[in-house]
Every structure is written in C-alpha cells, then in structure tokens.
C-alpha cells in the first residue's frame, strides 16, 4: 500500500512538471501575442523606426536588415559547413586529427555569444576594418552557427543508407561523385532543416550582434553599413526607450517567425522520416 501511495504521488509530480513547462511556454507566448498583436499593422511593418530615444515608428528597416543578415550568413556558412560535415561523415578515420576536429566543433559550440561578439569586434570590426556592419555581424554569426550546422548536416549524411554509396561505387563512380550526386541529394531534407534552424537562431540572436553591428536604425545600403535586426531593435526599445508597446509588437513578430520556423522544420523532418522508413 505504501509503495502504491508513493507511486501515485510521484506520478502526480511528474505530470505536474510537464504541466508547468507547458504553462511557462503558454504564458510567454500568450502574453507577448496578447500585448503585441494589437500593435502590428501595415504602418508598423512598413514604416522605418524613428530611432533615438523616442522609440516611435515601425520596424521596416529592421526587417530588411534581418533578411540581409540571414542571406549573407547562410551564403558564407554553406561551403565550410557542408564541407566539414562531408569530411566527418565520409572521410574521417578514428585518429588524432579527427579527434582534434571534433574537439574544435564541440568546444566552439559552447563559446558564449558575447565572447564571440568580442572576437568579432577585434577581428572583423577593428583589425579587418569592416566597421560595425552587416558583414562583421554575419561573419561573427558564422562562427556561432558553424558547429550546430555541421552537426545537423553530419547526422543527415550519416542517415543515408550504405547501399546508396555502394550502388554508386559499383556503377563506377568515384567516391567524390557518389557523395556529390547520390549521398548529398539524399541528405538534402536534413541539411535544409539545419539551415532553417540556423535562420531561427540568426533571428533570435542579439549578444554577438550587439557588439558587431552598431545598431543603426537606418536602412542598410551595403555590406559595410551598420544595422539592427528585429531582436536588436527589441533590445534597444526595451532598454533605452519607454516604448514597451512597440517592443511587445516587435516581440510578437519574432514569436510568429519562430512559430513558422518550428512548423516548417517539424513538417520536413516528419516527411523525411516517413520517406526513409517507407522507402527502405
């Protein structure tokens, strides 16, 4: 009887912790959407922020800066990211070099965003004279995202059945041809999921961009112009102005973007899994 009572109490606590976790999520999302959605309108989305301490205006330039930053970061990330994943999944032997590479990836993944920001500040902003700019921000973001992207891509490549590679090799292709024309296309859904996750992190990132992008509210016109993303804009609004309603509206836009991104990645991985299991 005693054991049964303990069992019931424990189960109640376990369900309770799940309930609290969901409650926290709903509280955050519900609160931001409830207070932020009324502030989102055509004017808010398509007019420029006034800048300075007023906190007035919309978020058009920050949306443009965010999109530019995503495009630039992904463009720089794609070659070293997929290349590294191919090496680790297809070529790496179990030796000191591989261990060193894996150590680099795992440790880089843990470096705090703000420390990467300091690094980006000395190397890109100061030493390479890229100034506070989209380019400095994007290069710093590449350092931040590389480990995660390598890991998801590597997993996607490893999930491709051995038979695919063997069939290609048996037909006379070289190893590289097999990777490029057979393995990589088969792993594409997983790699795309990795990209979308990166986009999500770019949208949400602030610390390393705060130190490397300068935070100008003006419309970015070149790689070397400064700017602020949606998240940075929210930070400036919350810390330097009293425009909390505008900050909330910006927060609601961010939450909607995050919801869309999560839905897409879940959908892709669901389709991908169904195909891998159904096809084999």
């Amino acid at each position: 009887m005693h054991a049964k009572a303990t069992h019931r109490l424990a189960m109640a606590l376990i369900w309770g912790s799940g309930f609290i976790t969901v409650l926290i999520l709903f509280l955050i999302i519900g609160y931001v959407l409830a207070r932020g959605l009324p502030g989102i309108g055509f004017d808010f989305l398509f007019s420029a922020p006034k800048g300075g301490l007023s906190g007035e205006g919309g978020i058009s330039t920050t949306i443009v800066a965010t999109i530019y930053l995503i495009a630039l970061t992904v463009a720089i990330l794609i070659i070293p990211g997929i290349g590294a994943a191919i090496y680790l999944s297809e070529y790496a032997k179990d030796n000191w070099l591989t261990r060193l590479i894996r150590y680099g990836v795992e440790t880089l993944a843990g470096v705090p965003s703000i420390v990467l920001g300091l690094f980006g500040f000395v190397l890109f902003v100061t030493a390479l004279h890229f100034r506070f700019s989209l380019l400095s921000g994007a290069l710093t973001l590449v350092c931040l995202l590389l480990p995660t992207f390598i890991r998801t891509s590597e997993e996607a490549l490893k999930a491709v059945p051995r038979g695919h590679r063997e069939a290609a090799l048996a037909l006379g292709s070289t190893k590289w041809q097999a990777i490029l024309h057979v393995v990589l296309p088969a792993a594409l859904p997983g790699i795309i999921t990795g990209f979308i996750l990166c986009i999500g992190r770019i949208v949400g990132e602030t610390a390393c961009l705060y130190v490397t992008m300068g935070g100008s509210a003006a419309m970015p016109t070149s790689l070397l112009s400064g700017g602020r993303t949606l998240s940075l804009h929210l930070f400036y609004l919350a810390m330097e102005t009293n425009a909390f309603e505008k900050a909330m509206a910006t927060g609601a836009v961010l939450i909607i973007i995050v919801l869309i991104i999560n839905t897409i990645t879940n959908w892709i991985s669901y389709r991908f899994q169904a195909r891998m299991h159904g096809g084999a």
């Binding site: 189960m11 799940g18 609290i20 790496a92 420390v115 920001g117 590389l146 949400g204 610390a207 999560n262």
Partner: protein, 289 residues
C-alpha cells in the same frame, strides 16, 4: 580521356578540400583564444591576476577592475536557475521518456523545442514586464537575482529536458523489464533503476544547462539591474560576467576595454572547463550502455 583523368583528379583533391572545411572550427577556436587573450592581457598585467579575479571594486573611471562581484552574481543567478530547472527538467524528461502516452508526447516535445526557439530578448522583455513587477510587490525594485534566476530557468529548461530524456531513453529495456518483473512499481523502477542508469546523461544535461546559463548576456542585463555588488539576498540587484561585458562594451576604451576582454577570457576558460566536464560525463554514459 580528358574527362576520366579529370574526375580522378577531382576525387583525389576533394578530400583535402573538405578537410580544410572541417578544420575551420578549430582555427576559429584558436583565433578566439588568441585575439581575446591578446586584448585582455594588458588588464591582467596592470591589475594583477589575483586582484582582477578577487577584487571587489569595479570602478572603470578610477582604473579599479575587480570582478569578484560579477563572479558571485553569475554564480547566484545560475544557482537559482538550476535549483528550479533541475527538478522541473528531470521530471519533464521522465514524463516524456517513460510516463506520457504517445499523444501527450507528440504535443509536449514540440512545446519544449519551441522554448529553445524563443529569442533571449523576448525572455528578457517578458521578464521586465511580468516577472520584475511581481517581485517588486515583495520588496525592492524587482530588478534582482530572483528575476534573473526565474528567466534563466525557462531558458535552460529545454537543455535539461532534452538531454535527460535521451539518456533515460538509452537505458536498455531489460533493466526496466527486470525490475518490473521483480514486482517493483513503475515509480520504484524509475527511481531505483532508470534514473541511476541514466545518471551520467542527466548530469551532463545539468552541466550543459549551467554552461548556457553562465553565457547568457542580454536577457540577464534586462532583468537584474546590473549594480556591481555582491548580492546578499535574492532580491538584490547584481551583475553577471557575460552581462558585464555587454553593459559596458559600447562606450569602453583603453584599459577599460582591455578589462572587458579579460572578463571574456575568464568566461571562455570557465565555459571550456564546464563543457569538458559535460563531455566526460556523456562519454562515461555512452561507455556504460
């Protein structure tokens, strides 16, 4: 003939190309270490390593740089966050791995993933508008260690949940079946068999959560008030290491800037140590199962 030679040529060199790509992470890591250390070194030299870490006064205008208050501040919010996040996270992990039916799991897991995706500034904003005013009703301004701990708790929760869940899932089925066959209740099996067997993974999840908590800057500076002082109660304002860099980097120059880079070095080393503990714990877990 030309094409055949060419594709073998490509095949031979492609390996080195992707090896170069794979090395970038390590090169970046080395560059981070070199650049932050070079910028931080003057501060260590002028202030002295001991005075820098154990000094309690941070007055950039008087060239006094002691980061002890920020170290204590970081530890205080992290400790508070983990005290809340560990029972909640491990409970949720048990729910996902063992207790919940598939229907609940299909809803709960995306919810946890969503918590990861929410930008840290949104956590900070909700902290300012919801958590801080609530704490203000108890005492003080509300910008406090307690507010920081509550916000951080929500941020590290997904890390604790997902890694703990994976490690509970990795426990061999026969352990569970053996325990149940001996007449133990489901809870006795979870508490005496599953959790001990998954211990390394759970420990790793906690350590990684701590690493994430210590590195968080923006959400923290939004809710903890950033006074450079050693907090004596959960309602006191304080400043964290990561937050301290972000608060002052925009206008720092000279030795002050060097001191902020020196904080970066301390943070970097701290995270390296924390993460190697997590890696050791995970490796040990993998060896056992």
């Amino acid at each position: 003939m030309y094409r055949i030679v060419s594709r073998y040529f490509v095949d031979r060199n492609a390996k080195y190309l992707v090896l170069l790509c794979a090395s970038t992470s390590f090169i970046i890591l080395a560059a981070i270490a070199i650049f932050t250390l070079r910028e931080g070194l003057p501060a260590f030299q002028q202030v002295g390593l001991f005075d820098f870490i154990f000094g309690t006064e941070w007055r950039p205008t008087l060239d006094k740089f002691g980061i002890a208050p920020m170290i204590v501040g970081s530890l205080a919010v992290t400790f508070g966050a983990m005290i809340l996040a560990i029972p909640l996270g491990v409970g949720c992990a048990v729910l996902l791995a063992e207790v919940a039916p598939a229907k609940v799991r299909r809803f709960l897991r995306p919810a946890v993933e969503l918590l990861v995706g929410i930008p840290s500034v949104v956590y900070g904003l909700v902290g300012i508008l919801l958590v801080v005013p609530t704490i203000r009703q108890i005492a003080g301004t509300g910008y406090s260690v307690a507010a920081g701990a509550l916000v951080l708790m929500a941020m590290v929760l997904p890390t604790v949940i997902s890694i703990s869940e994976d490690s509970i899932r990795a426990v061999p089925r026969i352990y569970k079946e053996g325990s149940l066959a001996l007449g133990a209740t489901h809870w006795q099996t979870i508490w005496h068999v599953m959790i001990p067997a998954a211990r390394s993974g759970i420990v790793a999840s906690i350590i990684l959560g701590i690493g994430r908590a210590i590195g968080e800057a923006m959400a923290m500076i939004m809710v903890i008030g950033n006074a450079v002082q050693i907090p004596t109660s959960p309602l006191d304002s304080t400043r964290t290491l990561a937050g301290g860099i972000a608060v002052e980097i925009a206008y720092a120059g000279g030795l002050h800037e060097n001191a902020l880079f020196a904080i970066g070095v301390v943070l970097f080393i701290l995270i390296m140590i924390i993460n190697s503990f997590a890696l050791i714990a995970m490796r040990r877990g993998r060896e056992r199962t």
